[in-house]
Protein backbone atom coordinates (compact mmCIF):
# COMPACT_ATOMS: atom_id res chain seq x y z
CA UNK A 1 0.00 0.00 0.00
CA UNK A 2 1.66 3.18 -1.10
CA UNK A 3 0.36 6.36 0.37
CA UNK A 4 0.87 9.42 -1.73
CA UNK A 5 0.17 12.77 -0.27
CA UNK A 6 -2.40 14.61 -2.33
CA UNK A 7 -2.83 18.28 -1.57
CA UNK A 8 -6.54 19.03 -1.46
CA UNK A 9 -7.82 20.34 -4.78
CA UNK A 10 -8.36 23.91 -3.75
CA UNK A 11 -8.79 25.64 -7.10
CA UNK A 12 -12.49 24.90 -7.40
CA UNK A 13 -13.10 25.84 -3.82
CA UNK A 14 -11.17 29.08 -4.16
CA UNK A 15 -13.34 30.02 -7.08
CA UNK A 16 -16.46 29.33 -5.03
CA UNK A 17 -15.20 31.24 -2.05
CA UNK A 18 -13.99 34.20 -4.07
CA UNK A 19 -17.28 34.48 -5.93
CA UNK A 20 -19.22 34.15 -2.72
CA UNK A 21 -17.18 36.87 -1.02
CA UNK A 22 -17.91 39.37 -3.78
CA UNK A 23 -21.57 38.42 -3.81
CA UNK A 24 -21.72 38.83 -0.06
CA UNK A 25 -20.33 42.36 -0.07
CA UNK A 26 -22.83 43.32 -2.73
CA UNK A 27 -25.64 41.60 -0.89
CA UNK A 28 -24.90 43.39 2.37
CA UNK A 29 -24.49 46.86 0.89
CA UNK A 30 -26.94 46.98 -2.01
CA UNK A 31 -30.14 47.28 0.04
CA UNK A 32 -28.86 50.47 1.64
CA UNK A 33 -29.17 52.16 -1.75
CA UNK A 34 -32.91 51.74 -1.57
CA UNK A 35 -33.34 53.63 1.69
CA UNK A 36 -34.31 57.30 1.68
CA UNK A 37 -30.89 58.22 3.01
CA UNK A 38 -29.27 56.24 0.23
CA UNK A 39 -31.29 57.97 -2.41
CA UNK A 40 -30.49 61.40 -0.97
CA UNK A 41 -26.80 60.53 -1.16
CA UNK A 42 -27.36 59.83 -4.84
CA UNK A 43 -26.42 56.14 -4.70
CA UNK A 44 -27.34 54.22 -7.81
CA UNK A 45 -30.54 52.26 -7.17
CA UNK A 46 -29.18 48.75 -6.88
CA UNK A 47 -32.19 46.86 -5.70
CA UNK A 48 -35.77 46.10 -6.49
CA UNK A 49 -38.40 43.75 -5.09
CA UNK A 50 -37.15 40.79 -7.06
CA UNK A 51 -33.64 41.43 -5.84
CA UNK A 52 -34.78 41.32 -2.22
CA UNK A 53 -36.55 38.05 -2.78
CA UNK A 54 -33.49 36.51 -4.36
CA UNK A 55 -31.09 37.81 -1.74
CA UNK A 56 -33.30 36.77 1.17
CA UNK A 57 -33.75 33.31 -0.32
CA UNK A 58 -30.02 32.94 -0.85
CA UNK A 59 -29.35 33.97 2.76
CA UNK A 60 -31.93 31.44 3.90
CA UNK A 61 -30.11 28.66 2.10
CA UNK A 62 -26.83 29.79 3.58
CA UNK A 63 -28.43 29.11 6.96
CA UNK A 64 -29.81 25.74 5.87
CA UNK A 65 -26.58 24.56 4.23
CA UNK A 66 -24.38 25.76 7.10
CA UNK A 67 -26.66 24.16 9.66
CA UNK A 68 -26.71 20.91 7.72
CA UNK A 69 -22.92 21.08 7.57
CA UNK A 70 -22.72 20.92 11.36
CA UNK A 71 -24.40 17.52 11.52
CA UNK A 72 -23.64 16.21 8.01
CA UNK A 73 -20.26 17.75 7.27
CA UNK A 74 -18.59 18.01 10.66
CA UNK A 75 -20.15 15.04 12.44
CA UNK A 76 -20.56 12.82 9.38
CA UNK A 77 -24.25 12.08 9.84
CA UNK A 78 -26.01 12.74 6.54
CA UNK A 79 -29.37 14.00 7.67
CA UNK A 80 -32.13 13.93 5.08
CA UNK A 81 -34.60 15.16 7.65
CA UNK A 82 -33.36 18.68 8.41
CA UNK A 83 -36.30 20.13 6.56
CA UNK A 84 -38.43 18.96 9.48
CA UNK A 85 -36.58 21.49 11.64
CA UNK A 86 -37.28 24.21 9.10
CA UNK A 87 -40.97 23.37 9.04
CA UNK A 88 -41.21 23.10 12.82
CA UNK A 89 -39.53 26.50 13.21
CA UNK A 90 -41.92 27.99 10.67
CA UNK A 91 -44.95 26.46 12.35
CA UNK A 92 -43.78 27.54 15.80
CA UNK A 93 -43.69 31.16 14.66
CA UNK A 94 -46.78 30.71 12.52
CA UNK A 95 -48.94 29.27 15.28
CA UNK A 96 -47.85 31.81 17.87
CA UNK A 97 -48.33 34.80 15.59
CA UNK A 98 -51.41 33.70 13.72
CA UNK A 99 -53.36 31.77 16.39
CA UNK A 100 -52.00 33.25 19.62
CA UNK A 101 -51.43 36.82 18.43
CA UNK A 102 -47.89 36.89 19.75
CA UNK A 103 -45.71 39.66 18.37
CA UNK A 104 -43.46 38.28 15.62
CA UNK A 105 -40.24 39.16 17.47
CA UNK A 106 -41.25 37.14 20.49
CA UNK A 107 -42.54 34.24 18.42
CA UNK A 108 -39.28 34.13 16.50
CA UNK A 109 -37.37 33.50 19.74
CA UNK A 110 -39.12 30.15 20.06
CA UNK A 111 -38.54 29.15 16.42
CA UNK A 112 -35.12 27.62 17.22
CA UNK A 113 -36.23 26.12 20.55
CA UNK A 114 -38.98 23.79 19.37
CA UNK A 115 -36.94 22.16 16.55
CA UNK A 116 -33.97 21.79 18.91
CA UNK A 117 -36.11 19.95 21.46
CA UNK A 118 -37.49 17.81 18.66
CA UNK A 119 -33.90 17.06 17.59
CA UNK A 120 -33.14 15.97 21.14
CA UNK A 121 -36.07 13.55 21.13
CA UNK A 122 -35.40 11.99 17.72
CA UNK A 123 -31.60 12.32 17.94
CA UNK A 124 -31.16 9.89 20.79
CA UNK A 125 -32.60 6.90 18.91
CA UNK A 126 -31.73 8.01 15.36
CA UNK A 127 -28.07 8.83 15.94
CA UNK A 128 -27.44 5.26 17.06
CA UNK A 129 -27.84 4.35 13.40
CA UNK A 130 -25.01 4.74 10.92
CA UNK A 131 -24.53 5.49 7.26
CA UNK A 132 -27.43 4.62 5.03
CA UNK A 133 -29.61 3.58 7.93
CA UNK A 134 -29.37 6.99 9.49
CA UNK A 135 -29.93 8.72 6.15
CA UNK A 136 -33.09 6.73 5.45
CA UNK A 137 -34.43 7.05 8.98
CA UNK A 138 -33.88 10.80 8.97
CA UNK A 139 -35.62 11.04 5.60
CA UNK A 140 -38.55 9.22 7.15
CA UNK A 141 -38.69 11.74 9.97
CA UNK A 142 -38.51 14.62 7.51
CA UNK A 143 -41.45 13.30 5.54
CA UNK A 144 -43.47 12.16 8.55
CA UNK A 145 -43.37 15.48 10.42
CA UNK A 146 -44.73 17.31 7.38
CA UNK A 147 -47.51 14.77 6.99
CA UNK A 148 -48.45 14.97 10.65
CA UNK A 149 -48.59 18.77 10.58
CA UNK A 150 -50.62 18.62 7.40
CA UNK A 151 -53.25 16.56 9.20
CA UNK A 152 -53.46 18.49 12.46
CA UNK A 153 -56.61 20.59 12.55
CA UNK A 154 -55.34 22.99 15.23
CA UNK A 155 -52.43 23.86 12.93
CA UNK A 156 -54.66 24.68 10.00
CA UNK A 157 -54.16 21.22 8.48
CA UNK A 158 -53.89 21.34 4.70
CA UNK A 159 -55.26 24.88 4.54
CA UNK A 160 -52.10 26.15 6.17
CA UNK A 161 -51.66 29.21 8.34
CA UNK A 162 -51.88 32.89 7.40
CA UNK A 163 -49.85 35.44 9.27
CA UNK A 164 -50.61 39.16 9.33
CA UNK A 165 -48.61 40.83 6.58
CA UNK A 166 -45.51 42.75 7.60
CA UNK A 167 -44.35 44.91 4.71
CA UNK A 168 -40.65 45.38 5.00
CA UNK A 169 -38.33 43.79 2.52
CA UNK A 170 -35.37 45.28 4.33
CA UNK A 171 -36.40 43.73 7.66
CA UNK A 172 -36.64 40.18 6.36
CA UNK A 173 -33.55 40.53 4.28
CA UNK A 174 -31.45 41.68 7.20
CA UNK A 175 -33.03 39.15 9.56
CA UNK A 176 -32.14 36.32 7.20
CA UNK A 177 -28.69 37.75 6.65
CA UNK A 178 -28.20 37.91 10.42
CA UNK A 179 -29.30 34.28 10.70
CA UNK A 180 -26.79 33.37 7.98
CA UNK A 181 -24.04 35.24 9.81
CA UNK A 182 -25.03 33.49 13.03
CA UNK A 183 -24.83 30.09 11.31
CA UNK A 184 -21.34 30.84 10.03
CA UNK A 185 -20.26 32.22 13.40
CA UNK A 186 -21.55 29.14 15.21
CA UNK A 187 -19.65 26.93 12.76
CA UNK A 188 -16.51 28.98 13.29
CA UNK A 189 -16.77 28.66 17.06
CA UNK A 190 -17.35 24.90 16.77
CA UNK A 191 -14.34 24.49 14.51
CA UNK A 192 -12.11 26.31 16.97
CA UNK A 193 -13.12 24.57 20.15
CA UNK A 194 -12.95 21.20 21.83
CA UNK A 195 -16.48 20.51 20.67
CA UNK A 196 -15.41 20.69 17.02
CA UNK A 197 -12.52 18.30 17.56
CA UNK A 198 -14.99 15.90 19.12
CA UNK A 199 -17.33 16.10 16.14
CA UNK A 200 -14.49 15.57 13.67
CA UNK A 201 -13.22 12.61 15.67
CA UNK A 202 -16.71 11.09 15.58
CA UNK A 203 -16.88 11.64 11.84
CA UNK A 204 -13.50 10.03 11.26
CA UNK A 205 -13.99 7.05 13.53
CA UNK A 206 -16.65 6.87 16.15
CA UNK A 207 -15.21 4.00 18.19
CA UNK A 208 -11.78 5.58 18.22
CA UNK A 209 -13.41 8.79 19.42
CA UNK A 210 -15.21 6.94 22.21
CA UNK A 211 -12.09 5.23 23.56
CA UNK A 212 -10.19 8.50 23.84
CA UNK A 213 -13.00 9.90 25.96
CA UNK A 214 -15.42 11.59 23.57
CA UNK A 215 -18.99 11.25 24.84
CA UNK A 216 -20.20 10.40 21.37
CA UNK A 217 -23.93 10.32 22.06
CA UNK A 218 -23.86 13.71 23.74
CA UNK A 219 -21.76 15.25 20.97
CA UNK A 220 -23.89 13.89 18.15
CA UNK A 221 -27.15 14.92 19.75
CA UNK A 222 -25.77 18.36 20.55
CA UNK A 223 -24.64 18.79 16.94
CA UNK A 224 -28.08 17.82 15.68
CA UNK A 225 -29.74 20.20 18.14
CA UNK A 226 -27.55 23.10 17.02
CA UNK A 227 -28.32 22.34 13.38
CA UNK A 228 -32.01 22.11 14.24
CA UNK A 229 -32.01 25.43 16.09
CA UNK A 230 -30.38 27.30 13.21
CA UNK A 231 -32.61 25.65 10.63
CA UNK A 232 -35.67 26.39 12.75
CA UNK A 233 -34.67 30.03 13.06
CA UNK A 234 -34.62 30.33 9.27
CA UNK A 235 -38.02 28.65 9.19
CA UNK A 236 -39.40 31.13 11.70
CA UNK A 237 -38.22 34.10 9.66
CA UNK A 238 -39.57 32.49 6.51
CA UNK A 239 -43.04 32.06 8.03
CA UNK A 240 -43.51 35.77 8.70
CA UNK A 241 -41.76 36.80 5.50
CA UNK A 242 -43.96 34.61 3.35
CA UNK A 243 -47.07 35.32 5.51
CA UNK A 244 -48.44 31.92 4.53
CA UNK A 245 -47.19 28.47 5.47
CA UNK A 246 -48.39 24.97 4.72
CA UNK A 247 -46.87 21.54 4.31
CA UNK A 248 -45.79 22.26 0.77
CA UNK A 249 -43.78 25.39 1.39
CA UNK A 250 -42.12 24.63 4.73
CA UNK A 251 -41.58 20.86 4.51
CA UNK A 252 -40.36 20.41 0.93
CA UNK A 253 -38.01 17.46 0.60
CA UNK A 254 -36.23 19.30 -2.24
CA UNK A 255 -34.85 21.68 0.38
CA UNK A 256 -33.09 18.74 1.94
CA UNK A 257 -31.52 17.71 -1.33
CA UNK A 258 -30.52 21.30 -1.97
CA UNK A 259 -28.91 21.95 1.38
CA UNK A 260 -26.90 18.76 1.12
CA UNK A 261 -25.76 19.57 -2.41
CA UNK A 262 -24.79 23.07 -1.38
CA UNK A 263 -22.73 21.89 1.56
CA UNK A 264 -21.12 19.01 -0.29
CA UNK A 265 -20.31 20.89 -3.47
CA UNK A 266 -18.99 23.89 -1.59
CA UNK A 267 -16.99 21.76 0.81
CA UNK A 268 -18.61 19.74 3.56
CA UNK A 269 -16.88 20.09 6.88
CA UNK A 270 -15.42 23.49 6.01
CA UNK A 271 -16.48 26.88 7.33
CA UNK A 272 -17.26 28.71 4.11
CA UNK A 273 -17.84 25.83 1.72
CA UNK A 274 -21.55 25.57 2.47
CA UNK A 275 -21.89 29.35 2.14
CA UNK A 276 -20.24 29.33 -1.26
CA UNK A 277 -22.27 26.32 -2.31
CA UNK A 278 -25.53 27.89 -1.16
CA UNK A 279 -24.94 31.19 -2.92
CA UNK A 280 -23.81 29.60 -6.16
CA UNK A 281 -26.36 26.86 -6.36
CA UNK A 282 -29.31 28.93 -5.22
CA UNK A 283 -28.56 31.62 -7.79
CA UNK A 284 -28.41 28.94 -10.47
CA UNK A 285 -31.63 27.38 -9.26
CA UNK A 286 -33.47 30.72 -9.11
CA UNK A 287 -32.27 31.60 -12.59
CA UNK A 288 -33.37 28.27 -13.98
CA UNK A 289 -36.64 28.24 -12.11
CA UNK A 290 -38.31 30.84 -14.29
CA UNK A 291 -41.20 28.45 -14.74
CA UNK A 292 -42.34 26.26 -17.58
CA UNK A 293 -39.62 24.33 -19.36
CA UNK A 294 -36.89 26.08 -17.38
CA UNK A 295 -38.30 24.78 -14.12
CA UNK A 296 -38.30 21.25 -15.46
CA UNK A 297 -34.70 21.63 -16.58
CA UNK A 298 -33.76 22.89 -13.17
CA UNK A 299 -35.27 19.81 -11.55
CA UNK A 300 -33.43 17.55 -13.99
CA UNK A 301 -30.26 19.52 -13.42
CA UNK A 302 -30.50 19.07 -9.67
CA UNK A 303 -31.06 15.37 -10.11
CA UNK A 304 -28.03 15.05 -12.36
CA UNK A 305 -25.98 17.12 -9.96
CA UNK A 306 -26.95 14.89 -7.06
CA UNK A 307 -26.07 11.80 -9.09
CA UNK A 308 -22.71 13.21 -10.13
CA UNK A 309 -21.98 14.22 -6.57
CA UNK A 310 -22.81 10.78 -5.28
CA UNK A 311 -20.56 9.14 -7.89
CA UNK A 312 -17.61 11.41 -7.35
CA UNK A 313 -17.77 11.49 -3.60
CA UNK A 314 -16.29 8.34 -2.13
CA UNK A 315 -18.84 6.11 -0.49
CA UNK A 316 -21.73 8.26 -1.63
CA UNK A 317 -23.30 11.16 0.09
CA UNK A 318 -23.23 9.28 3.34
CA UNK A 319 -19.68 9.65 4.41
CA UNK A 320 -18.95 13.25 4.17
CA UNK A 321 -15.37 13.24 4.89
CA UNK A 322 -13.67 16.60 4.99
CA UNK A 323 -10.49 17.00 3.05
CA UNK A 324 -10.59 13.51 1.63
CA UNK A 325 -13.31 13.93 -0.91
CA UNK A 326 -12.89 16.28 -3.78
CA UNK A 327 -13.86 15.98 -7.38
CA UNK A 328 -11.03 13.94 -8.74
CA UNK A 329 -10.26 10.87 -10.77
CA UNK A 330 -8.77 9.37 -7.69
CA UNK A 331 -12.05 9.72 -5.83
CA UNK A 332 -13.96 8.34 -8.79
CA UNK A 333 -11.77 5.28 -9.00
CA UNK A 334 -12.07 4.70 -5.31
CA UNK A 335 -15.82 5.08 -5.29
CA UNK A 336 -16.21 2.71 -8.24
CA UNK A 337 -14.02 0.20 -6.49
CA UNK A 338 -16.05 0.47 -3.33
CA UNK A 339 -19.45 0.33 -4.91
CA UNK A 340 -18.59 -2.68 -7.01
CA UNK A 341 -17.98 -5.01 -4.10
Amino acid sequence: MTQRFRPPATALRRLFVGGAAIALVYVVLAPLSSTDAGQQLGLPFLTDRLWFRVATTVAMFVVLASAWNIIGGLTGYASFGNVAFFGLGAYTTGVLVSLRQWPFGLALLLAPVVPALFALVIGIPLLRLHGHYFAVASLGVGVAVGEVVNNLQPLGASTGLFLPIVRSNLLFFYLMLAAAALAVLVTWVILHTRFGYGLLAIRENEEAAAVIGVNTTFYKVAALMIAAALTGLAGGIFAQWNTFINQENVFPIEYNVEMILMAVLGGAGTLLGPVAGAVTLELVILRLAGGGAAAAYSQIGLGVLLAVTVIFLPRGVIDFFGGQSRLSLWALRRSLRETSV
Partner: protein, 265 residues
Amino acid sequence: MSQLAVRGVSKRFGGVAALTEVTFSVEPGEIFGIIGPNGAGKTTLLNCISGLYDTDAGEIRWEDRSITGLPAHRIARLGIGRTFQIVRPFGSMTVRENAATGALFGQPSGRLQPRQALAYADTVLDLVGLAAKRDYPVRRLTVPDRKRLEVARALAMRPRLLLLDEVMAGLNPVEIEQALDMVRQVNRQGVTMVLIEHVMRVIVGVCTRALVLNFGRPLIEGKPEAVLRDPRVIEAYLGERYARQGGPDASPTQADGEGGGGAGQ
Protein backbone atom coordinates in the same frame (compact mmCIF):
# COMPACT_ATOMS: atom_id res chain seq x y z
CA MET B 1 -4.39 -5.22 45.36
CA SER B 2 -4.84 -5.64 41.65
CA GLN B 3 -5.26 -2.56 39.53
CA LEU B 4 -7.23 -4.33 36.82
CA ALA B 5 -9.25 -7.44 37.55
CA VAL B 6 -11.08 -9.41 34.88
CA ARG B 7 -13.33 -12.03 36.44
CA GLY B 8 -15.13 -14.72 34.51
CA VAL B 9 -15.73 -12.58 31.45
CA SER B 10 -17.57 -14.23 28.55
CA LYS B 11 -18.57 -12.85 25.20
CA ARG B 12 -20.41 -14.53 22.34
CA PHE B 13 -21.07 -13.42 18.78
CA GLY B 14 -23.99 -15.50 17.63
CA GLY B 15 -22.64 -19.01 17.66
CA VAL B 16 -19.03 -17.99 18.24
CA ALA B 17 -17.83 -18.05 21.83
CA ALA B 18 -15.18 -15.36 21.49
CA LEU B 19 -14.43 -15.33 25.21
CA THR B 20 -15.31 -17.96 27.81
CA GLU B 21 -14.81 -17.22 31.50
CA VAL B 22 -11.61 -15.29 31.17
CA THR B 23 -10.08 -14.38 34.51
CA PHE B 24 -6.83 -12.58 35.23
CA SER B 25 -5.58 -9.57 37.09
CA VAL B 26 -2.89 -7.00 36.52
CA GLU B 27 -0.89 -5.36 39.30
CA PRO B 28 0.07 -1.69 39.28
CA GLY B 29 3.19 -1.04 37.19
CA GLU B 30 3.11 -4.42 35.47
CA ILE B 31 3.59 -5.11 31.80
CA PHE B 32 1.14 -7.93 31.24
CA GLY B 33 1.31 -9.90 27.99
CA ILE B 34 -1.61 -11.58 26.25
CA ILE B 35 -0.82 -14.06 23.52
CA GLY B 36 -2.74 -16.64 21.57
CA PRO B 37 -3.39 -17.73 18.01
CA ASN B 38 -5.41 -15.68 15.59
CA GLY B 39 -9.05 -15.57 16.56
CA ALA B 40 -8.31 -16.53 20.16
CA GLY B 41 -10.26 -13.54 21.44
CA LYS B 42 -7.47 -11.13 22.34
CA THR B 43 -8.94 -8.12 20.55
CA THR B 44 -12.40 -8.98 21.83
CA LEU B 45 -10.99 -8.95 25.36
CA LEU B 46 -9.57 -5.45 24.86
CA ASN B 47 -12.89 -4.31 23.40
CA CYS B 48 -14.66 -5.57 26.53
CA ILE B 49 -12.21 -3.86 28.87
CA SER B 50 -12.35 -0.56 27.00
CA GLY B 51 -16.14 -0.61 26.89
CA LEU B 52 -16.72 -1.01 23.16
CA TYR B 53 -18.42 -4.34 23.77
CA ASP B 54 -20.81 -5.28 26.54
CA THR B 55 -19.82 -8.51 28.20
CA ASP B 56 -22.29 -11.38 28.40
CA ALA B 57 -21.06 -12.48 31.80
CA GLY B 58 -18.42 -11.64 34.34
CA GLU B 59 -17.06 -8.50 35.86
CA ILE B 60 -14.27 -6.08 35.05
CA ARG B 61 -12.87 -4.06 37.95
CA TRP B 62 -10.52 -1.13 37.67
CA GLU B 63 -8.86 0.42 40.69
CA ASP B 64 -11.41 -1.15 42.99
CA ARG B 65 -14.59 -0.21 41.19
CA SER B 66 -16.61 -2.13 38.66
CA ILE B 67 -16.42 -0.73 35.15
CA THR B 68 -18.58 -3.46 33.66
CA GLY B 69 -21.13 -1.88 31.34
CA LEU B 70 -19.76 1.66 31.58
CA PRO B 71 -19.70 3.52 28.26
CA ALA B 72 -16.32 3.65 26.53
CA HIS B 73 -15.75 7.35 27.09
CA ARG B 74 -16.25 7.00 30.85
CA ILE B 75 -13.76 4.15 31.00
CA ALA B 76 -11.31 6.22 28.97
CA ARG B 77 -11.55 9.08 31.44
CA LEU B 78 -10.94 6.71 34.33
CA GLY B 79 -7.43 6.34 32.96
CA ILE B 80 -7.57 3.45 30.51
CA GLY B 81 -6.13 4.12 27.05
CA ARG B 82 -5.94 1.72 24.14
CA THR B 83 -4.78 1.30 20.56
CA PHE B 84 -6.44 -0.55 17.69
CA GLN B 85 -4.83 -3.50 15.95
CA ILE B 86 -6.15 -2.20 12.63
CA VAL B 87 -5.18 1.43 13.11
CA ARG B 88 -7.95 4.00 13.29
CA PRO B 89 -6.44 7.44 12.88
CA PHE B 90 -8.62 10.50 12.38
CA GLY B 91 -7.94 10.81 8.67
CA SER B 92 -8.67 14.47 8.11
CA MET B 93 -6.40 15.62 10.92
CA THR B 94 -2.67 16.05 11.07
CA VAL B 95 -0.47 13.80 13.16
CA ARG B 96 -0.29 16.46 15.84
CA GLU B 97 -4.04 17.00 15.90
CA ASN B 98 -4.61 13.27 16.17
CA ALA B 99 -2.45 13.08 19.26
CA ALA B 100 -4.02 16.25 20.62
CA THR B 101 -7.49 14.71 20.59
CA GLY B 102 -6.27 12.19 23.14
CA ALA B 103 -5.16 15.01 25.42
CA LEU B 104 -8.29 17.01 24.73
CA PHE B 105 -10.79 14.36 25.73
CA GLY B 106 -9.00 11.62 27.59
CA GLN B 107 -7.13 13.31 30.39
CA PRO B 108 -8.84 12.51 33.68
CA SER B 109 -7.90 15.77 35.38
CA GLY B 110 -9.42 18.96 34.09
CA ARG B 111 -10.28 20.10 30.62
CA LEU B 112 -7.60 21.18 28.22
CA GLN B 113 -8.21 23.74 25.54
CA PRO B 114 -7.08 22.91 22.00
CA ARG B 115 -3.91 24.96 22.30
CA GLN B 116 -2.78 23.22 25.47
CA ALA B 117 -3.70 19.86 23.98
CA LEU B 118 -1.59 20.53 20.89
CA ALA B 119 1.33 21.43 23.12
CA TYR B 120 0.87 18.22 25.09
CA ALA B 121 0.68 16.29 21.83
CA ASP B 122 4.20 17.42 21.02
CA THR B 123 5.59 15.73 24.13
CA VAL B 124 4.03 12.36 23.30
CA LEU B 125 4.98 12.59 19.63
CA ASP B 126 8.52 13.07 20.81
CA LEU B 127 8.27 9.93 22.91
CA VAL B 128 7.01 7.72 20.06
CA GLY B 129 9.40 9.24 17.52
CA LEU B 130 6.91 11.13 15.39
CA ALA B 131 7.96 14.65 16.32
CA ALA B 132 9.49 15.35 12.92
CA LYS B 133 6.27 14.34 11.16
CA ARG B 134 3.85 16.16 13.41
CA ASP B 135 2.42 18.34 10.65
CA TYR B 136 1.91 15.50 8.19
CA PRO B 137 -1.59 14.50 7.25
CA VAL B 138 -2.18 10.93 8.37
CA ARG B 139 -2.23 9.75 4.76
CA ARG B 140 1.48 10.41 4.46
CA LEU B 141 2.37 8.06 7.29
CA THR B 142 3.75 4.58 6.74
CA VAL B 143 2.13 1.65 8.52
CA PRO B 144 4.69 1.59 11.36
CA ASP B 145 4.23 5.32 11.82
CA ARG B 146 0.49 4.87 11.99
CA LYS B 147 0.99 2.35 14.76
CA ARG B 148 3.15 4.89 16.56
CA LEU B 149 0.38 7.43 16.14
CA GLU B 150 -2.10 5.02 17.73
CA VAL B 151 0.20 4.83 20.74
CA ALA B 152 0.73 8.58 20.81
CA ARG B 153 -2.99 9.31 20.80
CA ALA B 154 -3.57 6.89 23.66
CA LEU B 155 -0.56 8.18 25.60
CA ALA B 156 -1.80 11.74 25.27
CA MET B 157 -4.68 10.72 27.50
CA ARG B 158 -2.16 10.31 30.36
CA PRO B 159 -3.56 6.84 31.01
CA ARG B 160 -2.65 4.80 34.07
CA LEU B 161 -3.32 1.66 32.04
CA LEU B 162 -2.40 1.32 28.39
CA LEU B 163 -3.84 -1.52 26.30
CA LEU B 164 -1.72 -2.13 23.19
CA ASP B 165 -3.17 -4.40 20.50
CA GLU B 166 -0.35 -5.78 18.35
CA VAL B 167 1.41 -2.48 17.90
CA MET B 168 4.60 -4.27 16.91
CA ALA B 169 3.17 -6.52 14.24
CA GLY B 170 4.72 -5.65 10.91
CA LEU B 171 7.71 -3.82 12.37
CA ASN B 172 11.24 -4.84 11.48
CA PRO B 173 13.70 -5.90 14.22
CA VAL B 174 15.20 -2.42 14.56
CA GLU B 175 11.77 -0.84 14.84
CA ILE B 176 10.77 -3.46 17.38
CA GLU B 177 13.77 -2.53 19.54
CA GLN B 178 12.75 1.11 19.35
CA ALA B 179 9.18 0.20 20.25
CA LEU B 180 10.40 -1.88 23.20
CA ASP B 181 12.43 1.08 24.45
CA MET B 182 9.34 3.20 24.19
CA VAL B 183 7.27 0.65 26.11
CA ARG B 184 9.86 0.49 28.88
CA GLN B 185 10.10 4.24 29.05
CA VAL B 186 6.34 4.70 29.32
CA ASN B 187 6.18 1.95 31.91
CA ARG B 188 8.91 3.64 33.97
CA GLN B 189 6.64 6.65 34.17
CA GLY B 190 4.24 4.48 36.11
CA VAL B 191 1.89 3.35 33.36
CA THR B 192 0.60 -0.19 33.72
CA MET B 193 0.48 -2.02 30.40
CA VAL B 194 -1.34 -4.85 28.75
CA LEU B 195 0.39 -5.94 25.56
CA ILE B 196 -1.11 -8.17 22.93
CA GLU B 197 1.71 -9.45 20.78
CA HIS B 198 2.72 -12.25 18.48
CA VAL B 199 6.35 -11.28 18.70
CA MET B 200 7.80 -13.60 21.29
CA ARG B 201 10.83 -11.42 21.77
CA VAL B 202 8.52 -8.67 22.98
CA ILE B 203 6.71 -10.89 25.44
CA VAL B 204 9.92 -12.32 26.86
CA GLY B 205 11.74 -8.98 26.67
CA VAL B 206 9.41 -6.75 28.63
CA CYS B 207 6.49 -8.62 30.14
CA THR B 208 6.32 -9.41 33.82
CA ARG B 209 3.67 -12.06 33.25
CA ALA B 210 1.77 -13.43 30.30
CA LEU B 211 -1.64 -15.00 29.70
CA VAL B 212 -2.29 -17.38 26.84
CA LEU B 213 -5.75 -17.45 25.29
CA ASN B 214 -6.91 -20.28 23.10
CA PHE B 215 -10.37 -20.44 21.54
CA GLY B 216 -11.48 -17.72 23.92
CA ARG B 217 -10.36 -19.60 27.04
CA PRO B 218 -7.40 -18.89 29.29
CA LEU B 219 -4.89 -21.67 28.73
CA ILE B 220 -2.09 -20.78 31.11
CA GLU B 221 -0.72 -17.76 32.91
CA GLY B 222 2.71 -17.11 34.39
CA LYS B 223 6.26 -15.95 33.73
CA PRO B 224 6.74 -15.42 29.99
CA GLU B 225 9.62 -17.89 29.67
CA ALA B 226 7.71 -20.58 31.53
CA VAL B 227 4.52 -19.95 29.59
CA LEU B 228 6.25 -20.14 26.26
CA ARG B 229 7.93 -23.39 27.18
CA ASP B 230 4.68 -25.05 28.22
CA PRO B 231 3.82 -27.92 25.86
CA ARG B 232 0.14 -26.96 25.72
CA VAL B 233 1.09 -23.51 24.54
CA ILE B 234 3.54 -24.81 22.02
CA GLU B 235 0.90 -27.09 20.65
CA ALA B 236 -1.98 -24.63 20.70
CA TYR B 237 -0.30 -21.54 19.55
CA LEU B 238 3.07 -22.05 18.07
CA GLY B 239 2.61 -25.33 16.32
CA GLU B 240 5.03 -28.09 15.61
CA ARG B 241 7.37 -25.94 13.63
CA TYR B 242 8.15 -23.94 16.76
CA ALA B 243 8.53 -27.08 18.84
CA ARG B 244 11.14 -28.39 16.38
CA GLN B 245 13.12 -25.20 16.34
CA GLY B 246 12.90 -24.85 20.12
CA GLY B 247 13.28 -21.84 22.36
CA PRO B 248 11.39 -18.60 22.45
CA ASP B 249 13.77 -16.65 20.25
CA ALA B 250 13.36 -18.89 17.28
CA SER B 251 9.71 -18.15 16.90
CA PRO B 252 8.45 -16.87 13.60
CA THR B 253 6.82 -13.65 14.52
CA GLN B 254 4.76 -12.39 11.66
CA ALA B 255 2.00 -14.96 11.80
CA ASP B 256 -0.68 -12.34 11.98
CA GLY B 257 0.68 -9.03 10.85
CA GLU B 258 -1.73 -6.62 9.32
CA GLY B 259 -4.08 -9.23 7.95
CA GLY B 260 -7.60 -10.15 8.80
CA GLY B 261 -9.56 -6.99 9.19
CA GLY B 262 -12.91 -7.20 10.78
CA ALA B 263 -15.29 -5.60 13.16
CA GLY B 264 -13.90 -4.49 16.45
CA GLN B 265 -10.25 -4.91 15.59
